[in-house]
């Protein structure tokens, strides 16, 4: 485990050093983040120009949720997505061989190899929206709340990671899976709204099948002080379930892999 951490750190360091050569990319990412944020905030103000509460969520409560959504989807683009994409190419080209011959657990390796450094800007921007919302709401956040928030957010990240990995395991059986990711990405964007405002059949999908919305809603409820312990419990259970299933499928998938040009 210690080796894994050291290795992850080295990969991160290399990625940062590499990206610092292209500083123009920083400016471009900054501009794109700004566009995305402005769009999201415009929508928010459009909605709340018509009402003060959407499904029981006030404007700044929803902004807090949006901040968490921004952070989580930026984490996906920062680390999860690039790693999975690299895994896909490796499987298609047979270069996955190089992972297998290295002395560290293959799942750990393929999860830490890639980092998209500039996406960290989006993580910061999301955090800023969240803080701004909390400030405007004027809520007092207790230490326990912060802990629970950290826990649910981490669970959410693990959950999303396991689902991405689970989907990519399909590539060991059928090689073309990009459409599945596209579908997942679209469903994940449902996370911009709290999961409780969706109709029942959508809520089931968004909680148990593609739980991005759920992963966003639970920490949001915690931080704005509407803690719903049964949701926290469901999230922990779903995360654990997905984690175990993914690990199982992954070991099956490794056996299935038959190497370069085979």
């Amino acid at each position: 485990m210690k080796r894994a951490v050291v290795l992850a750190w080295q990969y991160l360091r290399l990625a940062v050093m590499n990206e610092l050569q292209y500083r123009m990319n920083f400016v471009i990412q900054l501009f794109e983040t700004a566009i995305a944020l402005v769009t999201a905030l415009v929508v928010l103000s459009l909605v709340y120009a018509q009402t003060d509460s959407l499904g029981g969520w006030s404007r700044y409560e929803l902004q807090a949720l949006l901040g968490i959504y921004t952070v989580l989807s930026a984490v996906v683009r920062f680390s999860i997505q690039p790693n999975i994409e690299r895994l896909m190419t490796d499987i298609q080209k047979g270069t996955f061989d190089y992972v297998l011959v290295k002395p560290i657990d293959a799942q750990i390796q393929i999860s830490i190899r890639e980092v998209r450094v500039w996406q960290s800007i989006d993580i910061i921007a999301g955090a800023a929206i969240l803080l701004d919302a909390l400030f405007r709401l004027g809520v007092t956040v207790t230490f326990g709340q912060v802990l629970l928030f950290g826990l649910t957010l981490t669970l959410g990240i693990i959950l999303i990671y396991t689902i991405w990995l689970l989907m990519s395991c399909i590539a060991f059986w059928v090689v073309r899976v990009d459409n599945i990711f596209e579908l997942f990405d679209n469903i994940a964007s449902a996370g911009r709204l709290p999961v409780d405002i969706y109709p029942r059949w959508m809520r089931v999908i968004l909680t148990y099948l593609v739980p991005m919305a759920f992963a966003v809603t639970v920490p949001a409820q915690v931080i704005i002080g509407r803690i719903n312990m049964s949701n926290v419990a469901i999230q922990a259970a779903v995360t654990l379930g997905f984690f175990v299933v993914t690990r199982f499928v992954w070991t099956k998938a490794l056996v299935r892999y038959n190497g370069a040009s085979a």
Partner: protein, 267 residues
């Protein structure tokens, strides 16, 4: 002209058959596309309900009709992303296409017409399912349907040429993602994709009216859900034609100036 027609017919056929090979993949990407409007629909319906049943003249049934029509219009709106064109310029992929007997535009156009046909076929069952799930309210009527069909085709043509013209920027700079993303962000808000035109503030509606985005997206939807009078519909069709002409001029000018700068990078 006759030759062009024959070539188009053959190319559309071939591409359509090619696309039909990936049945499951097509279904997945279409399902994904359907999910986005469902989010908006849920959001605005929740608002309409809290507002006593309707919002800016839209009842829950109107909104359902709006976003179900949305899924079809979106299907027809897909164009060659300027990112794709930028890649061709950057990596030199344009070079072999230039050697073909027809202008590269025609090959892309034929491919996207095929996509329309395949996409509409796949859309039908999904449209039925959505109808059953969300019970939309349509006024119906043959005239509305005909005008809708015409405006749908025009929206495809004008957006396709416009976005293609935007791709011409790649001849001058390959750092284009920021420009394109800005364009699409403005389009998302002002086209009616995110929110029906009537729900925008007054001043934003005025801006939306003079920009092309609304005419390639929101307009056909408003036609089919019966939000427009006959003169408004006819005027809208005229504006669509106008934008198609403007887009064509932009494209031709951009192409002629840009192709001289093209140096087959990386080839």
């Amino acid at each position: 002209m006759r030759l062009l027609w024959d070539i188009y017919r053959k190319m559309v056929m071939t591409s359509a058959l090619q696309m039909l090979q990936y049945r499951l993949g097509n279904l997945f990407s279409l399902l994904g596309m359907v999910f986005e409007p469902m989010i908006y629909l849920v959001m605005w319906s929740a608002l309409a309900n809290e507002n006593g049943g309707s919002i800016a003249g839209y009842t829950a049934g109107n909104l359902a009709a709006y976003y179900i029509a949305w899924t079809l219009v979106r299907q027809w709106n897909i164009a060659l992303a300027p990112f794709g064109f930028e890649q061709r310029v950057r990596e030199g992929g344009l070079t072999p296409v230039l050697l073909r007997p027809l202008h590269p535009f025609h090959y892309d156009m034929a491919g996207f017409i095929a996509l329309r046909i395949v996409g509409t076929l796949y859309w039908i069952p999904i449209g039925v399912a959505l109808w059953w799930l969300f019970s939309p309210v349509y006024p119906g009527g043959w005239l509305t349907l005909v005008i809708f069909a015409v405006s749908l085709v025009l929206s495809f043509l004008m957006r396709f040429v416009l976005v293609y013209a935007l791709g011409m920027v790649s001849f001058w700079t390959t750092r284009v993602s920021a420009i394109f993303n800005l364009y699409f962000a403005v389009e998302t808000i002002l086209s009616g994709r995110l929110v029906p035109q009537a729900l925008l503030p007054e001043w934003a509606q005025r801006i939306a009216n003079v920009l092309p985005f609304r005419w390639s997206f929101g307009f056909p939807i408003e036609v089919i859900i019966g939000k427009l009078t006959l003169p408004e519909m006819v005027l809208g069709l005229g504006i669509q034609l106008g934008w198609l002409a403007v887009a064509t001029v932009l494209f031709v000018v951009g192409w002629n100036a840009g192709i001289k700068r093209y140096s087959a990078v990386g080839a």
